[in-house]
């Protein structure tokens, strides 16, 4: 691929999604964009680049961006965050919201929905303890295709075997051809919409719990900081944030701070009293 073309594509993708593509990722760019070129009836990437230099087609730019995102996900990914959510976050937040009896949870960069639905299943398992509570689980992703897949709640045999205990498969899924579909009751617990984390997040409303995992790793420092600052604005003082295993707030923003001894779990930095409440629940 020509250097100018690589620069064009990587600039476009960075502007639109935040994803940083370094030169050593040229092979990845080629293998992911060839199908896009073919879809638009072009012979190769030079032709695609040429088209993007001319009058920019929004649908084409979108295809290029979506092709470069990594959508890998799995049910109960890394397990630990879900244990922490159940053992620590849920007890303390349900106590704090006892009067309101409602909680809003955001799966930012939800991919095909496994994270949001893992939370839905986890809440369903809590059973009568949470009777009368209203949980609003919102999943968002930049990719229209992923949002559509998440809404369908339809997974391959391979996907339902990664992280999902067999008892939950039996309880909540129905076989549909060679795929497995989550029950309507569980699907109803989550809603999905297309949303770019680089955009203005304020319209999403307030979230008590945010899962923003395995997406910031693709961004550069200033972009990470901007997204984290915006997320903090959507959260109440006692809200909690989950990041992925390779992500942190340290050295990026002081809006959040890690919760002592709980990897991947972050709390709003000020006021300090909110974190103390959670720690009490942990103790």
């Amino acid at each position: 691929m020509r250097v100018e073309d690589f620069d064009l594509f990587s600039t476009l993708v960075k502007q639109r999604s935040g994803l940083v593509l370094t030169k050593d990722k040229a092979y990845l760019l080629e293998s992911r964009l060839m199908p896009v070129a073919r879809k638009w009836q072009m012979k190769g990437l030079d032709e695609l680049a040429q088209a993007m230099r001319g009058r920019r087609d929004e649908a084409m730019a979108r295809d290029i961006t979506e092709a470069m995102t990594t959508n890998e996900s799995s049910f109960f990914r890394d397990q630990k965050p879900f244990d922490l959510f159940r053992q620590l976050v849920l007890p303390s937040l349900t106590e704090a919201r006892a009067a309101k009896r409602s909680l809003r949870v955001w799966s930012a960069a939800c991919s095909s929905g496994q994270e949001a639905y893992s939370l839905a299943m986890l809440l369903a398992e809590e059973g009568p303890k949470l009777a009368g509570w209203k949980f609003d689980i919102v999943g968002t992703d930049i990719s229209a295709e992923m949002v559509e897949r998440a809404r369908a709640g339809l997974y391959t045999q391979f996907e339902v075997q990664r992280g999902l205990p067999i008892t939950l498969l039996v309880k909540h899924f129905k076989q549909s051809g060679d795929k497995w579909q989550l029950s309507p009751q569980l699907r109803q617990m989550a809603s999905f919409r297309e949303f770019n984390l680089l955009g203005d997040l304020s319209g999403l409303g307030q979230f008590d719990v945010v899962f923003c995992r395995n997406v910031l790793i693709y961004f550069d420092q200033p972009t990470k900081a901007r997204v984290l600052d915006q997320i903090a604005r959507l959260m109440p003082a006692d809200g909690v944030l989950f990041l992925g295993g390779a992500e942190t707030v340290l050295g990026i923003t002081d809006r959040f701070k890690p919760m002592d001894g709980q990897r991947g779990l972050y709390v709003i930095n000020k006021p300090a009293s909110a974190a103390a409440g959670l720690k009490k629940a942990a103790g």
Partner: protein, 121 residues
């Protein structure tokens, strides 16, 4: 080191499973059908059993039902690993006392997460 008995009539599947399990620090033994597995368990109860369904002589489900009635037969964690991939089979396996269920084809990731879920890792 934990022990795992791999029960499958296909030598290739046993070999693949064995390699994955040894990487997860299991010591492995093999059986070609339910009867051989019974004989093995009568001598030594393994910590885990990776179990195929359809096998000559004695099927996996028949073996599992008998195992759970043996002295000490409630102990091993039994993970089915079979091409039977419909809800009815899965439910039958669970009510016979299976702890987890893998639908073939599998890979090391699936074995690892399933074994972790039943507390073997």
């Amino acid at each position: 080191m934990k022990s795992c008995l791999v029960v499958d009539d296909s030598r290739v599947v046993r070999k693949v499973a064995r390699r994955i399990l040894e990487e997860l620090q299991f010591s492995c033994a093999e059986a070609e059908d339910g009867r051989q597995a019974m004989e093995y368990c009568a001598r030594t109860m393994p910590d885990a059993i990776l179990l195929d369904w359809n096998m000559p002589v004695m099927t996996g489900i028949e073996f599992l039902r008998r195992l759970r009635k043996m002295t000490g037969g409630g102990e091993p964690k039994v993970v089915f690993c079979t091409t039977e991939n419909d809800l009815a089979h899965i439910q039958e396996a669970l009510s016979a006392g299976a702890n987890e269920y893998i639908m073939k084809p599998f890979d090391s990731d699936i074995i690892q997460t399933k074994f972790a879920q039943v507390g073997l890792l």
